[in-house]
């Protein structure tokens, strides 16, 4: 029950949004988010967006992983 999928907000209408990922498109509630915007990536759980993904921090984590993986080759 901790399953939540990152999906992109395609459109918003009131408390609801259409979100999409490579394999799916869904209509979900965004009532639990403060200020959802189109193109935001959100975690979708049980028909609701429960949190926005911070893309800057997501990128930072990816870069940290890249650096670490690279340093293996140079070690």
């Amino acid at each position: 029950m901790c399953l939540a999928i990152p999906m992109r907000i395609e459109s918003i209408e009131g408390d609801f949004a259409i979100v999409e990922t490579a394999s799916a498109r869904r209509r979900i509630s965004v009532t639990l988010l403060e200020a959802p915007r189109i193109n935001d990536y959100v975690l979708v759980h049980a028909g609701f967006a429960i949190q926005k993904i911070d893309e800057r921090l997501a990128q930072e984590t990816i870069e940290l992983l890249n650096k670490m993986a690279l340093s293996r080759y140079n070690a």
Binding site: A4, T21, L43, A46, G47, Q51, T61, A69
Partner: protein
């Protein structure tokens, strides 16, 4: 699949695995992954095989279906037998054995029991069928509780009279406190990433302050889990026990305050019974008195049969990290995903199902 595959990268996972081996060395460490979704993730991606033999992972009580006592299921079954009542539930609950039946069996006998993906689906069924009473089975931790709270507030706003929730929501942190108080030998917790998006890093601070225990909030992809373990391996070897957040892209210090507000408007804390852990104070959510019309336990008066636990089932000990699945005499024999005896084998986040499916 953006923000999934980047963190599922094999090369990075192997690199993390090597770092962990380097940092942890031979120092024996035991970490508990709290969340059933972490247990599944670890099993599915074979992450235990990427850890040095000195690091042991044990599963915890973070499977909401698994820790819900039989009585809740028996109550739901009793409600399903009332004329005009429709039970709406998340899929997992269907096959969990109650004391003498299951929702799946009752459905086969003709009761109106429907699997839904969201409490909003149950609301819609209620709106389309004003002559029927829709009861939604509210199971889940703080990840799910705000969504059910939203459904109740929506029902109130629309003046709906035929929607109610049988509430068994629970809070994670009190269970962790109880585990620690029980004296379990642990060096750290892999903390549940999505519960944490709601409750925030701050909700764990008291649990870890002044204790020789570390905790890292982790996401669910292989690099998320391995990254968290690397963090903790470092903390343990340097005896710098602390709380960390390896899932900053989704978890902030304060979490989702708006969602917490939804929870607080609809629920209040109560003492709650956890399979395997017993009664834990202020660890469950119950629907507030002023919203009693949406509380199925108050709206309907039904006779619930005497609770019986399945003989030989060791779900309780598995959930509290005392025994692994293969120490249960029923595991793989009397109890398999095809014919489960206890909830740990049924739930998609159940420890026993994870072990069985991925051959651990």
């Amino acid at each position: 699949m953006k923000y999934i595959l980047e963190y599922r990268d094999r090369e990075k996972s192997v690199a993390l695995s090597r770092e962990i081996a380097k940092v942890a060395g031979q120092v024996p460490m035991t970490f508990m992954e709290v969340c059933g979704t972490h247990t599944m993730s670890i099993a599915r991606f074979g992450l235990s095989q990427l850890l040095p033999p000195s690091i042991r992972l044990i599963s915890g009580p973070g499977c909401p279906v698994c820790v819900t006592p039989n009585r809740f299921l028996d109550h739901a079954i009793a409600l399903s037998r009332q004329n005009g009542v429709v039970i709406c539930t998340f899929g997992d609950m269907m096959r969990v054995p109650g004391s003498s039946s299951s929702l799946e069996k009752e459905h086969a006998l003709g009761r109106d029991i429907r699997i839904v993906y969201s409490s909003l689906d149950a609301l819609n069924i209620a709106k389309k069928n004003p002559e029927l009473e829709i009861v939604f089975l509210g199971i889940g931790f703080e990840t799910t509780a705000p969504t059910i709270a939203a459904s109740i507030l929506n029902a109130k706003q629309e003046g709906m009279k035929n929607y109610s929730v049988l509430c068994a929501h629970k809070a994670v942190v009190p269970a962790l406190e109880a585990l620690v108080a029980s004296g379990i030998k642990l060096d750290g917790f892999i903390l549940p990433g999505h519960v944490s998006t709601i409750i925030g890093v701050r909700s764990y601070r008291r649990l870890f302050s002044g204790r020789d225990l570390c905790g890292v909030i982790a996401g669910f992809e292989p690099t998320d889990v391995l990254g968290a373990i690397l963090n903790m391996a470092g903390a343990v070897t340097h005896k710098k026990f602390e709380l960390g957040n390896s899932y900053p892209r989704a978890v902030s210090e304060n979490g989702n305050l708006r969602a917490m507000n939804f929870i607080n408007r609809v629920f209040e804390l109560c003492d709650s019974n956890w399979r395997g852990l017993g009664e834990i104070g202020q660890s469950g959510f119950k629907i507030r008195e002023e919203l009693a019309e949406f509380d199925a336990s108050k709206k309907f008066s039904v006779c619930v049969e005497k609770t019986r636990e399945p003989a030989g089932c060791r779900c309780g000990e598995i959930l509290s990290g005392i025994a692994p699945p293969f120490e249960c005499p029923l595991f793989g024999h009397a109890c398999t995903p095809d014919h489960p005896v206890g909830p740990c084998m049924v739930s998609s986040e159940g420890t026993c199902q994870a072990y069985y499916k991925y051959n651990q």
